[in-house]
Amino acid sequence: MAEVAALVRMARIGKRYGGVRACREVDFSLGAGEVHALLGENGAGKSTLMKILSGDVTDYDGEIRINDEPVSFGGPTDAQAAGIAMIHQELDLVPGLSVADNIFLGRELRTPWRTVDRRRMDREARALLERSGVRLDPRRPVGELRVGEQQLVTIAKAISLDARVLIMDEPTSALTTSEVERLFVVIRELRRAGVGIVYISHRMEEIAQVADRATVLRNGEVVTSFDPRKLSTAEVVEAMVGRPVQTMFTTPDAATGDELLRVEDLALTPRRHRPGRRDPAGISLTVRAGEIVGLAGLLGAGRTELLETLYGVAPGGPRSGRILLQGKEIRPRGPRDALARGIGFVPEDRRASGLVLFHSILANTVLSSVPQYGRFGVVGRRRERAASVRMADRLRLKFGRLQDEVGTLSGGNQQKVVFGRMLLTAPKLLLLDEPTRGVDIGAKAEIYRLLGELAGQGLGVLLASSELPELVGVCDRVVVLRDGRDVASFSTADSGEGDLLAAAMGEGAVFEQVGGPL
């Protein structure tokens, strides 16, 4: 690798959070026009390292040099001034402001009278969004966008900074294949323009597609650096996890039981329309006991909304069609009702709808099941501890103590906590919305293994995911949604990612195989 024109050089970077050493003695460099992938398990220290580079974290050990000049940032603004921009993992946008306002926040465009030039901001925002392949009204408040759309807005925002160094911390975790493709086009353009890009992702297939170089962190330390085109997935994963990981995906288990869930022509007309929501408009599907059924679709196909309807948290309004659980028609009235019937739900946005970030791991893990550990409304302390330790073990949760705040866990481990909470309610049917978003490959394997295990015990799973390999690898069957309807159903035994994507995009769509050798 040519180390000649290092744009950024970080040397012996160290950072502690209390007892946790997020980074130790990390050396990292980035050249102009280079896409440098940063890999590692959840909690390996990737985000921390990049927050240091982008001026978000200011108390650290070690040295940063930009163009061979030592720098020390007092905050994100300093880093931006030095040409460093970052797309944060936890989409940090202002919900009440419009897309354009968010993109230009802190550096608004002005008219000659020093007032905000709204029209120009809208125009430029639209152009930026189109460049990343999104059609979005820049005047819409960000709060009403889908997670995926928000992610695209943060990308547009980062691109608009015209940075020399662009850090992308899991920019695609909520995107589906076609949006990812568009992003890669943009990345290649930027690379050609000499921008140095740090690319963090847990989607292994993406690394080989875009990265020129990859560095693996484990427990805050660099373990290896390599050319991603030359290593196999298994080797990369072994470097990340520190031991060989065998099969990524459980082989679909054909031995399924009785019909657990049947959805017949479900449609919902919300009383109050919310822009951007795609409510079920005629969906039929079934899930058998022991079966893992995938839900595929493009951004906004209505997967999330279907799961929300099944869990009873969709907006009110007349609905048609039927939902049958074990042959009996149900009308889920809300989470309590659904949980009581044995339906569990893992929402897609763990920070906003999954966790109380500043409460302990323990409290978050047992939140849905706490009454069952005691009697007379008193918490059974020992039993709840035992239950959450058991669950942490089972999910291989990486944590310090059960009392630690859940917000200090790495993203993937946070996801496991939400997952564990639902498992503790002993559901019959598990509704999962992007359950592995931001989860590292090792932990994903754990989750898949667990899903297989649970399915083996007769649990039915409905899994919405934007990761095609995951759907194909984990599910027995995949139902494809488009515009709130089911348009196709595939058995994963005899169809691949290409079939799913073609169905998701609709007829006539030309599908170009993504993913090279990895």
Partner: protein, 340 residues
Amino acid sequence: MTDVQDKPAAIAETGGGVVATLFRFQSVFGLLAVFVAAIIFSPRRDGQILFVSADNLANVVRAVSEIGIIAVGMTFVILIGGIDLSVGAVLGLAAVGSAVLMVESDWGFLPSVVVVLLIGLVFGALQGMATSMIGIQSFIVTLAGLQIARGLARIWSDGQGVAIAYGDGPDEAPESFAILGERTFGGLVPIPVLIFAVVAIAAVVFLRVSAFSRHLYAVGGNEKAARLSGVPVTRVKIAVFAVCGLLAALAGIVHAVQLNQGSPNDGIGYELDAIAAVVIGGTSLAGGRGSVAGTVAGALLLGVLNNILALNNIDSNIQLLIKGLVIVAAAALQRLRPTS
């Protein structure tokens, strides 16, 4: 406190298009309803509806002008996710200040007004610093600020209201000050109303066109995002509390001129009225969404309500009940606005 049940909604000042217009309309919905009710329930004389007489309407707006001016500043503070309980006390301090400076210290009109406004500004800024730099919740900072401002006002005035008489004598205030309490445009529009209108319009325009307003919404909507985007969060907070203090002081001057005295007990409880106006106007106490236009509507709603209850000579206890219920109803109406 975060009332998390608050559903997301478009904000009027920054969102464009139909939704925003609709929302703006919604924020005056309660006001319209109360206005119509006022006409219906207004006593009549010689076939004339007393409520809608020009004179009475001027009175209604004059009576809300102080709360209205304060509420504009409060809107800013609430938009950044804070609250300011000290405004009533700062009003009292400013009223005392103008009276003491002009009457007892025999200062001129302009220096007195400027110094009083500065006092409000600095007091607000100090509170902003305590909350943004030390990180104490603004509720508690301004609760303390309330006591401090009240204490200062009492000490400054020796605990007694300072009467304002006009003239050139040593114990008299300049006549120019009295003008602030008079009426203009053919005796129709009281100057306090004019001041309120100017403040409100300036605030609305400011929120629509300035870059600072984007920062303000950002700080209230997602402080971390704001910080990461390079918004000077601390500076925004200090500025907002300073402006709120300044406006409270302005209201205090208006108060003093209207009542011909500055008393340390002026403005007790005004903070709650101002907050009620803001919230009825559709601004979320969680920060990040709301508008000054809504606040003005909210203040007028409260004013119309007070006026119609008084015109009908409703028993003061029943008035309390009715006001409570109308406030809840107005807030409930707000919930009907289109959500995203």
